[in-house]
Subunit: 218 residues, 2 copies
Amino acid sequence: MHTLSEENYLKCIYRLWQDRGQKITPTAIAEWLGNNPASVVDMIRKLTDKQLIIYDKKKGVELTPQGQKDATLIVRRHRLWEVFLLEKLGYDWDEIHDIAEDLEHIKDGTLADRLDKFLGFPEYDPHGDPIPRANGKMAKRHSTTLADVKHGTLCRVAAVKDTTSAFLQYLQKLDINIGTKIQLIEKIQFDGSLVISIAGGERTTVSQKFGENILIDM
Amino acid sequence: MHTLSEENYLKCIYRLWQDRGQKITPTAIAEWLGNNPASVVDMIRKLTDKQLIIYDKKKGVELTPQGQKDATLIVRRHRLWEVFLLEKLGYDWDEIHDIAEDLEHIKDGTLADRLDKFLGFPEYDPHGDPIPRANGKMAKRHSTTLADVKHGTLCRVAAVKDTTSAFLQYLQKLDINIGTKIQLIEKIQFDGSLVISIAGGERTTVSQKFGENILIDM
DNA sequence: ATATAAAATTAGTCAAGGCTAATTTTATAT
DNA sequence: ATATAAAATTAGCCTTGACTAATTTTATAT
């Protein structure tokens, strides 16, 4: 079994792998976790010894099959708890992440599966991220962002990339949720700002950064 | 905020205080937690510094008002999670304690209260222990055991003292749950064994130790 | 090709929270 | 009252997982 720290590193590596698909360096991990690179080097050694990752200076850090399996389970637990907190306990969108961050480390053989069943086997968490199934498989991740589509496109908010409460609260203020329809009216050449219409409403301008954090369906 | 270890010590001290009402010594704490007495002495210093306990060689360890408040909240969380695990996730009686042992340490300002509401404000946990209310008050604890009543008495199982799975599984086998009616037919002088009838059924003999761990109403 | 900057690594430190072994204090029994 | 046993305490050590500072390796730009 893994310690809390080991689990956090595993999850971090998993997320960097999913998000960027690029070479995962000690520095990238350190930045993501807010840790010192020296600490990361230590943990890389530890996770390598446990055969959860492989580290090659050229290729960066990669998860072994076991590492992937373990990381997936942590993500599964995290996302299931998020559903629980939102749907059953009535928390807001921006409050659930941090609590799930703790709950995801509760280890019990059948807990995730029971929770999954209790929640009705949800496919996506409240931020639109797919929940890994008990068998490790999971629905496709949305990859197109609002910043990627061309002007005129009408799309549906499928997920968000950023899960900080600053971002989520901004979304609340704009009245954007998973499922909200957004039409991209215009892209400003100068700085990539986006002029959009939310649920058929008035024009609003948002930043490029904002658009890059909204994942969509069409 | 308290560390995991500090919380476990607090809870332990609280339980010893409730259970025995006697002087709480470092040795007693060490035994309960399965730790070395030397470690206990260290933690007593730490909790004293945090003004959660007062330690006096004559009187033993006592909780300060703040210590009581904090310990009560941990117990509240533990018992609420036990209800959740049993009622919502379908765990068995003997499985919930260990998982709740981890869940109780999840700290979020409103989590316990939301869970409480979600569960319908239960008064007792699945082992019959009263759940501290949000205001710190709690229902009376049952104190009469099956070993205390005189022969012939018909009583109702209100709670159990021991929560080890060995004991709880034995109860399952005997088909005893909270609410089960038990009549004490006879007490054996020699060793305190009890001859009982469970839910009006056949006579069964149980040990004195067994009887001391069954708390009853009449 | 080499100077400079960035990244990675090593070495040594620290706090938390355990431990063992040794010692001191307190209780208990004769 | 004193010997013995039990309990409490101290001292010193260990592991985990962080840190800083110093060093080495790797990339990048001229």
